[in-house]
């Protein structure tokens, strides 16, 4: 066991984790952050995507100790980000959720994509989101949502 300090969704946390524990396990089981989901536990489905220091990573394939001293954001934390909230509104308006189990990961990945490229076109969006699976097949609605949300990211500035 070792102690790590990290900022999860804006709040400083200290967690005791195993050396071989994944960030996914630490977030869900120790920090009680259930807005990060899991569906394969081996890097295939992308549903455990979180932002680690602002970059999207699959938390099932990241060790918890790698997050020591870093910031971690999931969809519940992005709710407090003005642009991400606009993105969420676009998801809601465009019916880009069905069962919703994949939605927080798609929100996180779309947010990262739009921060990187506020002018993302169809092909960019497909490239940015192809690592994630939505079994309900909500892709048409997600494309619409992400394109509509570009307006919130137009100033191009990165948030920390």
């Amino acid at each position: 066991m070792r102690e790590i300090r990290l900022r999860i969704n804006g709040i400083e946390r200290e967690l005791h984790v195993e050396d071989n524990e994944t960030l996914l396990e630490a977030l869900r089981n120790r920090a009680g952050v259930t807005s990060v989901k899991a569906a394969c536990w081996r890097g295939e489905c992308g549903l455990c995507t979180v932002l680690l220091n602002g970059r999207p990573v699959k938390s099932c394939s990241t060790l918890a100790v790698e997050a020591d001293g870093k910031t971690v954001e999931t969809a519940e934390g992005l709710y407090f980000d003005k642009r991400a909230k606009g993105l969420m509104e676009s998801f809601v308006r465009n019916g880009a959720t069905q069962c919703g189990f994949c939605t927080p990961a798609f929100v996180v990945a779309s947010h990262a994509l739009l921060l990187r490229n506020p002018k993302a076109e169809d092909e960019d969006i497909k490239e940015g989101l192809k690592g994630l699976i939505c079994r309900c097949g909500t892709y048409v609605n997600m494309m619409r949502a992400v394109k509509e949300a570009r307006q919130y990211y137009a100033d191009g500035k990165q948030t920390a």
Binding site: T34, S35, V36, K37, A39, C40, W41, R42, E44, C45, L47, T74, A75, E76, L78, Y79, M88, F91, V92, R93, N94, G95, T97, Q98, C99, G100, F101, C102, T103, P104, V107, I125, K126, E127, L129, K130, L132, I133, C134, R135, C136, G137, T138, Y139, V140, N141, M142, M143
Partner: protein
Amino acid sequence: MEENVVGKRVPQVDSWLKVTGTLRYSFDIELPGQLYVALVTSRYAHARIRSVDTSDAIKSPGIVGVFTGKDFPFRIGLYIADRDLLATNKVRWVGHPVAAVVGTSMAAAEEAAEKVSVDYEPLEPVLDVEKAIEKGAPLVHEDMASYNYYKGFINPVPGTNIANDFRLVKGDVSSGFAESNVIVEETFKIPQINHAPMEVQNVLAYWRPDDYVEVWTSAQSPFATRYLTAASLNIPVNRLIVHVPPAGGGFGLKAGIGWEPLAIMISKSLRRPVKLVLSRSEQMTSAPSRDGLVANVKAGFSKDGRFKAYEATFMMDAGAYADYTVNVARTTGYSADGAYDIENISVKSLAIYTNKIPTTAMRGFGHPENHWPLEQVMDRAADMLGLDPVKIREINLHVPGKSVRGTGEPVREYDGNPRGVLEALVKGIGYWEVEKPSEPWKVRAKGLAMLVKAPSQPPNAGASAIVKIDEDGTIDVITGTGSMGQGTPTSLAIIAAEAFGVPVEKVKVNQLEGVSTDQNPYTWQTVGSRGLYSDGIALLRAIEDAKNQIREMASAVFRVPKDDIEIRGGQVYPRTHPEHRLGLKDFAMGYTYPNGNTIGGPVIGRGSYAPVLNTFLDEKGHGHNTVFHTYGGTAVEVEIDLLTGEVRVIKVVQAFDVGRVINLLTLEGQAFGGFIMGMGSALYEEIKFDKQGWVLNPNLTHYYVPRITDLPDEIDAVFLETPQMDGPLGARGIGEHVMIAVAPAISNAIYRGLKVKLNEIPMNAERVWKAIKEQRPELISSAFEQALSRAEEIHV
């Protein structure tokens, strides 16, 4: 003012919880002190269990209990109780759970599970449906005769591997074939496929010290789960409390009965809360999948294109357990005639046990199976007759008010507009226009397929609803339908908002927090596209009941006859004197006069629904077994690469006669998403078994489900509105129909473009290329020349 949102785009009521990841699935629910379960699963497809040695596992650190089949001598199942909780005496497929190891952490349980050793005596496995029904084939279930099953509904054949033998007979096929000028005779196949919901199946069970049992489960049907579990485990029904939070996808997998009995019995033994969460590979091998199919069909047509005779044998590969698939076979059989008038029919539909993954319902069950052959037969016959695929459908499509289905049920005037659907498809896809391919070695082609489907359910599949008015005039709607992304809760909110004339935000549906069997009224199951229709009718009756209670009070308050009270726009007033008005809130807890006298009391409306005049089907498959039919279809434009065999869907138009659009946003979402799922099953998905019955692709890398990169360039949906006479606001169900016609539409496009037959899915590049190579090798050689000359051009 009244706000009518019916037919508009209304976001799902739980959207904000979903986009923030704060909706609580059963996956997210834990109890203090809960224990974790790891499964030990079979490595043989068919073997006798000589012994199970758990002595090392139980001594492992953090282990509280190890269980085997002998500990839980129960048989469970929906229509036939053929399943054990853990393998007893023998294992029936690779993945069959043999032992459950329970520990204080998942890691401890998994480590100890490795220490369980099982001594097997291998038996000959049955891995092929055709061999499984040969005389002398090894039996998957020797004890079938002792199983309980739903008599009158299914027909198991003990002493064989046939779990259900269903027949549909109309007229006399031999005379029909004698009158036919053209006969199509083909074998069609479908592999087992996986539902692959993103939320894996998981159960948290707690057998409490007071002998009440609480269960949180990722399921579709709270009440079916409760009743079947209680009945199999001898628990009084009201002592079992089943909580069904919103599910992260169901698609039929989570209907019926799942892992609840196992988790409950472990909790009963240990008297502690127990959580069982499948891994993805367990989800894909130890949990059920969709049945596979081999269908031998023969279809006769007269020279003017009339469908004279249809003879079909459906052999459903049910795998090791068929507790739900027996009804899949029944459904495949009774609806084998699809949307067409067929003069003579003889169908045999069998659910067949094999030593493969057990199977269950999947989105539209029975219909992807029977439309795959039927809709291709139409195009093949058209070709032989010199007709086109549209014309042959026009000749044979049901005529509402005149046609009669194979079961003897009349096609009613209000059942929908199949011809309108066909026209919408032809127009939408531009069926007669020829498109230019992106490269000379590719071919663009268009195809279509029709569909019709009714909910497949027993004749007593009821529903009920409760409506309460709160102190401030807001409204609570409580039903028993689970929420799994299909949007029924939102549609019910819209119906209630419309009925009271209030904004939809003023209606709260209970499914946000999930359904609990001790708090919600009964609905049979969340399946079959029945929720909006069945719960919707019950809800409208509950609303009428609540309104009547308000009218009673208002009649006294306003001193006018009860029938003259209007309730609209959230207001209550005499129809003739609308200037006298009160709000819903003034009656919510009863009406209180200025002096304090109170009449009425809290308003609570109740409504119930049962299928009207439904019957069992007789030995010829005749009877009245449906409540509504939804007609629809899919049209696609595909591009086929002759060099690689790759098929890409360029454009899609789907059309459905939904009766009445309740929520356009959800409806489009279903149509688009269902197409994507249908396309996955058509082009990519297949559980691959080796010769010993091992699954070769139990993960999401080698079992490919569609991703955003697979989106067609254009996707559209057309909705017709022929009102369903008894449907809520005229609506009928649609949730499954959206994937049924996809595979045959794609295959028909390939046939139309290349005259290459594809009788088996998935139509992946390898299979398509081989089919072209076998049937039209000249296409490949000329494509190769085209590519070569292009390469030379580029080189120059």
